[in-house]
């Protein structure tokens, strides 16, 4: 790579070796892009298995069929792959990106605890009551929105 618009390599001791000779697959941007693509693929496949599990019994096979169990098993297996892809994605981030990401995850977990614990107590005393399905959906939406907002805030803070 030419530095500062010249083709000359900087002199030794001037802070020389930019990673021009580094293979493409070892470079940071390439590794991040690759792990992001892998994570996207795994997420897509996982969402597909969730759809299969949710809508398969309604349109592809009879309710109570063994296929429903197989779809659930497939969803769990793909979920494990998704977790590993997520772990790899985190490992390939640089330290600031990782900090922003982990901060966002911490805020999400904290928010869920703050919302869920009082809700569970109020539910126990019949102050509030939501159907289980609605409560789980609400929780997933809450987690997603909190994570997204925290991630955007973190990126803006260190922009």
């Amino acid at each position: 790579m030419a530095i500062g618009g010249t083709d000359e390599e900087p002199a030794e001791g001037q802070g020389g070796s930019m990673n021009a000779s580094k293979p493409q697959e070892q470079r940071y941007q390439f590794r991040v892009l690759k792990s992001t693509r892998q994570l996207s693929k795994w997420t897509g496949v996982w969402v597909g298995t969730v759809c299969l599990m949710a809508f398969g019994p309604l349109s592809l096979w009879n309710r109570g069929s063994v296929f429903t169990l197989l779809a659930a098993g497939l969803n769990v297996c793909v979920g494990l792959g998704l977790i590993l892809a997520h772990k790899k994605f985190l490992a390939n981030m640089d330290e600031l990106q990782r900090k922003v990401y982990l901060d966002a995850l911490a805020i999400t977990v904290g928010t869920v605890f703050i919302i869920v614990v009082p809700y569970a107590v109020l539910d126990a005393y019949n102050f509030v009551h939501l159907k289980t399905g609605v409560a789980i959906s609400g929780l997933v939406i809450l987690m997603s929105l909190t994570f997204l907002a925290s991630l955007l805030y973190g990126s803006w803070r260190y922009r």
Binding site: M1, I3, G15, S17, M18, Y28, D94, E95, L96, Y158
Partner: protein
Amino acid sequence: MKNRLKVLRAERNWTQAELADALEVSRQTVNAIETGKFDPSLPLAFRTARLFALRIEEIFIDEASAQNGDGVNAEAGARDKAVAVI
């Protein structure tokens, strides 16, 4: 913690993207370090020092010891002031 990363980069006519590529971090990280919003880890500080062929304390300045007029840090601080004046 202050640092001289922006000055050192400017001396070599490197862009933030080029420096980020050399340090294997994102451009956002280089910018955050330069503006003092983020302090790098020790491995990244070592990588930076190696790239510029300087000692870590010639790049990163502990503000407490700089105020006490401490050795290399004070020297680096004085150099920064001189560059700023120029």
